[in-house]
Amino acid sequence: MSVALDLVITGLILLGAAFVLIGSWGLVRLTSTMERLHGPTKATTLGLGALLAASVVFFQAKLDVWTAHELLISLFLFITAPISANMIAKVHLHRLRTGANAEQDSIAGSPPPPDAEGDWATFEAPKPGNPAATANT
C-alpha cells in the first residue's frame, strides 16, 4: 500500500474522530436545546461521513474488496439527520417545560390534539383576518 493512500486513510479517520468528539463535546457544553442541536448534526454529517469514506478506501486498499455498505449508511444518515433535527426542534418549540425552569407557555403554543383539525406544520399559514395574512399581498 502506498504512503499516499496511508496518508489519505489516516487523515480521514482522524478528521472523522475529531468531528465526532467535537459534536459530542458541544452537546455537553452548549446551554440551550437549539444550540445543542448543532453538535450532533455536525458529528453525523462530517464525522461519520469522513469515517465511512475512510473505511471504503481502507477496505479497497487493504483487503481488495469493494464494499458499498458504507455508502448506503452515509446516504441513509445524510437523509435522516435533518429529519431528526427538525423533529427535535419541533418538540422543543411545542413542549411545555416544567420543573426548575418552568414556563407558562411553550414557544409555539401547544400542538393540535390527535383528533382535532390542524396541520402538522409548526407554524401554519396565517389565518384570514390576521394582520400577517395581508403582509405579503
Binding site: 474522530a17 475529531a18 450532533p40 429529519i83 427535535i88
Partner: protein, 76 residues
C-alpha cells in the same frame, strides 16, 4: 500509521460516549462510529450490516420518541 490513527479515533469516539432525545440521537451516531472503527481494526467487513441496521433503528426510535412527546401518540 493507520493502526495508530484507528486507535486514536477509537479513543475519541469512546470518550464521546459519556439528556434526552438529542443525547439518544448522538449516542446512536457514536455507536455507529464505534462499530465502523471496530470493523476497520479487525479488518472484517461484516460489521457494516450491524452499522446499517443500527442507523435505521436509531432514526426510527428518535422519530418515535419525538412524536410521542409531541402528540402523545405514535400511530394515530
Amino acid at each position: 500509521m493507520i493502526a495508530v490513527s484507528l486507535h486514536v479515533a477509537f479513543g475519541c469516539v469512546a470518550l464521546a460516549l459519556l439528556l434526552r432525545i438529542i443525547a439518544l440521537d448522538t449516542m446512536v451516531i457514536n455507536a455507529i462510529a464505534l462499530i465502523v472503527l471496530i470493523g476497520m481494526i479487525g479488518g472484517n467487513d461484516t460489521y457494516f450490516e450491524a452499522a446499517l441496521l443500527l442507523a435505521m433503528v436509531g432514526f426510527v426510535s428518535t422519530i418515535a420518541y419525538c412524536k410521542f412527546i409531541l402528540r402523545g401518540d405514535i400511530v394515530e
